[in-house]
């Protein structure tokens, strides 16, 4: 039997505050194959970061179990930490140490010998194009360099599974593309990559499989192509002349209301029948058809549009980040 790299079974996480409780994960099930690049895609507050915290042993789930290569993240947390790497949305390197010192420190904490960690640091600095900056304090690094160092640090222990929590959030396009190349190169070495993102483009570009999560559970999972085909091949965006008819129109064609239009999905041969139904409701001021994208998949399964703006600080135990 081929082992799963990450297996989540009915994971619940309920945050209990003084005034309220919040269900961050609600029966999440997930199975990730070794060697996959698996994207967990979802809106803010869907539970992406919470899942990463559970899988990386930082948070004990309220119920349910998570295994990394068969190791229980709660009961065998120490062994799990030996085989995972984590890079977060915020580069968690020490600003006053140099790039090399950060990698050496991480190496020490992984239990590597002096020679091993020195060699590993040199290797990683080269791979991530940080040789020139190696002996400078990381507070002088650009945002992109910090992310690269953070990624390098997460590979110090030669992990089998790498967790990337929104790795490109807040990066400019050029830096993001460079980071994507790094992620692909890591994947090519056989490392399983679990990546959370709220960018559909990122999931489409990197992932071999995508799980869309919303409100703490997986709503759909598949390859990017499978997901696109499940929502139909063609998307019709219909704008009625009379805005009051939006609701009726949406109901008639089985679509969703988005920004004053109705979006309906159909197989290619179904376009005319959708149009006939729509025109029976009332006259239309515009009609466009597009081929389904992951945006449409996202909308179909979560009921809202994927967010493109900067997310607020993620929820950690502390509820804030700088």
């Amino acid at each position: 039997m081929s082992e799963t790299a990450v297996l989540a079974e009915d994971v619940d996480v309920v945050y209990t505050g003084r005034q309220s409780t919040k269900r961050a994960l609600d029966g999440l099930n997930l199975s990730i194959a070794p060697g996959a690049v698996h994207a967990i895609l979802g809106p803010n507050g869907a539970g992406k970061t919470t899942f990463i915290r559970v899988a990386t042993t930082l948070l004990i789930p309220t119920s349910g179990r998570v295994f990394v290569h068969g190791l229980d993240v709660v009961r065998q947390a120490g062994s799990v930490r030996d085989i995972i790497g984590v890079a977060g949305q915020y580069a968690t390197v020490d600003e006053s140490l140099t790039g090399r010192e950060n990698l050496l420190l991480t190496g020490t904490l992984y239990g590597l010998s002096r020679e091993e960690r020195a060699a590993r640091a040199v290797d990683l600095l080269e791979r991530f194009d940080l040789v020139d900056a190696a002996d400078r304090a990381t507070k002088t690094y650009s945002g992109g360099m910090r992310r690269r160092l953070d990624l390098a640090a997460s590979l110090t222990g030669d992990p089998q599974v790498l967790f990337l929590d929104e790795p490109t959030t807040g990066l400019d396009v050029r830096t993001r593309n460079a980071l994507w190349e790094e992620v692909r190169a890591i994947a090519d070495r056989g490392v399983t990559i679990v990546l959370t993102t709220q960018y559909l483009e990122e999931a489409d570009a990197l992932a071999s499989r995508i799980s869309i999560i919303d409100a703490g559970r997986v709503v759909v999972e598949g390859t990017p192509a499978e997901l696109k085909s499940t929502v139909g091949e063609e998307i019709l965006t219909l704008k009625p002349v009379d805005n009051h008819l939006l609701g009726t129109l949406a109901e008639a064609v089985g679509g969703e209301i988005v920004e004053g239009t109705v979006r309906a999905r159909t197989a290619r041969h179904g376009v005319t029948s959708v149009l006939e139904t729509a025109l029976a409701v009332g006259p239309l001021s515009s009609v466009t058809t597009t081929t389904a994208s992951l945006d449409d998949v996202f909308l179909a399964y979560t009921g809202h549009i994927a967010e493109d703006e900067q997310p607020p600080a993620p929820t950690s135990r502390w509820g804030r980040r700088r």
């Binding site: 070794p34 992984y110 089998q160």
Partner: protein, 269 residues
Amino acid sequence: MSTMTRPARTDRPSRSRRFITDTLALAGRSLAKFRRNPQAIVFTIVQPVMFVLLFRYVFGGAIQTPPGVDYVNLLIPGIVVQNALFSAASASVAISDDLASGFTDRLRSLPTARLAPLTGRVLADTLRAGLLVIVIFLVGLLVGFRPEWGPGLLAAWLLLMLIAFGFAWIAVAIGVSVKSPEVAQSAGFIWIFPLTFASSVFVPVSTMPDWLAWFATINPVTQFANATRGLVLLGEVDSAMGWTLLWVVIFAVVGGFLSIRGWNRMTRA
């Protein structure tokens, strides 16, 4: 390219060995952070020097001392106690900073010895307190402080680091329980002022009103200052030494317990 589970690493050092290695590595990181922050160094040194000058030359003349005892000789052993506490108290901000920046998350996702981030911090702040004590001692010599030269000085230095060690655990407990570095900044330091001023650090307790003298007498800081004076001025073990050691143990045990409990609770939702 292999995606199979590799066999568990068998060449790993033992748990206790790793605890020591990780503690030293993280203490080294904390000290490097301090060493490379010139501002922090300047302020850490300027503040006690100001206290020394202020009390030596501004207030000192007005403070009554027992006949034949020079005020500066009472002052310096008191100020080193105050600064050992200040130095230890900075642990609360540092711990809170690491939690806020995500650095702690990274440490906790590595196979780091579980408590090494805490013990590393305490070790760093204890050593830093030891350095600060030496600096104040030297400044004291410049302004007329005359200790009893002998092994009592070395014993006092070790005692001050022990005091810093005990207090650092209280500071770490504060650091792991407050919600932000800003809160840690005030919660970590505010209690040091009443403790050090309502004590024998700057003035003889006998000059205080009864109620305050009562508090100052049981105040651990008075015990610390008196025990230090015994060693530094007379080369003797003062009767305050017993209380001092007891307080240090209490601070370390209570602080350590609360720190570890807070640390382990972080994995709960």
